[in-house]
């Protein structure tokens, strides 16, 4: 969908044509789900996340301005949401008494990256990365977005992101078994 077409739809939604938001959902739900799925590593969490993100996007539509592309704006909401989920998981590991029994009986302490979907080698790398690093890696490597666009949603300078990405590749290499990094036997690292 063209940017102009999206902007036109958003104008209509803001004017009260709520049903046009269905077109926006159709267009964004799969890529946002894929992003959340990679960020959270858990299918149900990712599905919950994409619902929450699209709902929040509708709620906050008045705050959206044209200085940011809608795509970047919605990814920014997605990043914040996923970062919060990951933060809560981390807290749940540190302070399990605060979280036990929450979320309809789910226990975040036992929550792990979903092995069935992400698999062992990727999980080994992924579990060592922060929310920001996961986002950078996903958007840069898989979505092939340029640094300028990622910089907008992470509130960073493109040059700083470029350096961070280079460091990130090294970090990944360290945890990648095929390279014989620390993840292999702990003796070698990059």
């Amino acid at each position: 969908m063209e940017k102009a077409q999206i902007e036109y739809l958003l104008q209509e939604i803001k004017a009260g044509a709520m049903e046009q938001f269905e077109v926006i959902i159709d267009h964004y739900q799969q890529p946002i789900f894929a992003y959340c799925y990679h960020m959270l590593g858990h299918r149900q969490d990712a599905e919950d996340a994409v619902q929450e993100i699209l709902f929040r996007a509708y709620e906050r539509l008045e705050q959206y301005t044209y200085s940011l592309s809608f795509s970047a704006w919605i990814y920014k909401i997605s990043f914040n949401h996923c970062a919060n989920v990951l933060k809560r998981r981390k807290l749940a590991r540190v302070l399990p008494f605060l979280y036990s029994g929450e979320q309809q009986g789910r226990n975040f302490v036992e929550e792990k990256i979903d092995h069935d979907y992400l698999g062992e080698p990727l999980e080994r790398i992924w579990s060592k990365l922060t929310a920001e690093e996961r986002t950078l890696l996903y958007l840069r490597v898989l979505e092939e977005k340029d640094y300028e666009e990622i910089a907008v949603l992470l509130d960073k300078k493109p040059a700083a992101l470029r350096k961070q990405f280079e460091r990130l590749l090294k970090k990944c290499k360290r945890y990648f078994p095929a390279m014989g990094g620390v993840a292999n036997d702990g003796r070698q690292s990059v």
Partner: protein, 329 residues
């Protein structure tokens, strides 16, 4: 090898993982529709509170300026009286009152606003399909008991029910014990049913003395208790959706002959076939006009209303939709 081209290898790793298909459209749209209904009701509640205060203030100064529209049934009996508010200036209603009274009214307005916010927070936490009673500990016991004497319920208690949102008309109709009316799935072929809620009369299954004792003991401004929901139908609230926006329809148990007030900019009488109706127009700066048609269906004690922005449907189109609703069996 990752060392040779870590970027490529990471890409392969990420791309190799199949991402399942997902479809959350219905869930998201249902959540949005439910939220809109909730907000609509909050605004209505606020307007109600402010209007009550406005009428209290107005009673002593500008009540005489009101115009009244009467709606009659096919037998010529008055079934509804509406004060149009014409000739009144909302901003000047308190002018001319003693300063003490003006301060009292300003304080009452601030209190009402604050309570309204507390109520909204409580409503947000209630599960759909459940009711709650809120007891407000009065700052001082009223010396004049006349209002309480004629009131059937305690003036310090508010009762709320959080309705269940139905996204299927068939499901809503199945839950609707009242079979005196039916709603169409489409209006004029342009608006389709989106969601609906059934509201019940406030329950009186609460213990005022116990709540009051608890509020005093714990030095709380208010006490909230979940209570059983009443089974007495109050009204049904339904949202229809079309290409240019939504319209709201309500059908409620009417009090025939009751007087009602309106803060609309203008009120006029219109005909829906042989049925008299009141059409209210609300005008605000930088906002599209808003139309609201209310009527008592001839031969029944049911009050219908339909409302929408003028950018969604014109006044004339809204009258046609109201006529279709009135004739639907």
């Amino acid at each position: 090898m990752m060392g040779d081209n870590p970027y490529k290898q990471l890409h392969e790793l990420l791309a190799a993982k199949p991402v399942p298909k997902v479809d959350v459209k219905q869930k998201v749209m249902a959540a949005i529709a439910a939220k809109k209904i909730e907000e609509d009701k909050k605004v209505k509640k606020k307007i109600g509170v402010l209007l009550t205060i406005g009428l209290l203030a107005g009673a002593s100064s500008v009540w005489a300026g009101m115009e009244v529209i009467q709606l009659k049934n096919e037998k010529g009996e008055v079934v509804m009286e509406m004060d149009t508010g014409k000739g009144t200036e909302i901003t000047s209603k308190t002018e001319g009152l003693p300063v003490e009274m003006q301060n009292e009214l300003a304080q009452a307005e601030a209190d009402a606003e604050r309570r309204s916010n507390i109520i909204n927070e409580i409503l947000d936490q209630l599960k759909p399909g459940t009711s709650a009673a809120i007891y407000w500990l009065p700052k001082q016991e009223k010396k004049d008991k006349s209002v309480e004497e004629i009131s059937l319920r305690d003036p310090n208690v508010d009762v709320f029910y959080k309705a269940i949102t139905y996204t299927s008309l068939a499901e809503l109709e199945q839950k609707l014990a009242d079979k005196r009316f039916a709603l169409p799935t489409e209006l004029n072929g342009a608006f389709r049913f989106e969601s609906g809620e059934i509201e019940y009369k406030p329950s009186d299954k609460y213990d005022v003395a116990a709540m009051k004792a608890e509020a005093i003991k714990n030095k709380k401004e208010y006490v909230v208790k979940e209570i059983p929901t009443s089974d007495k139908f109050d009204y049904v609230h339904v949202a229809y959706r079309g290409a240019k926006g939504g319209i709201t329809v309500e059908v409620r148990q009417a009090e025939l002959g009751a007087k009602t007030g309106s803060n609309a900019t203008g009120v006029e009488k219109v005909m829906l076939g042989k049925n008299e109706a009141a059409l209210m127009t609300y005008k605000e700066d930088n906002q599209p006009d808003f139309h609201w048609i209310v009527w008592i269906k001839n031969g029944s004690d049911l009050e219908y209303s339909v409302r929408a922005k003028a950018t969604t449907v014109s006044k004339e189109e809204l009258i046609k939709l109201a006529k279709q609703l009135n004739e639907h069996k």
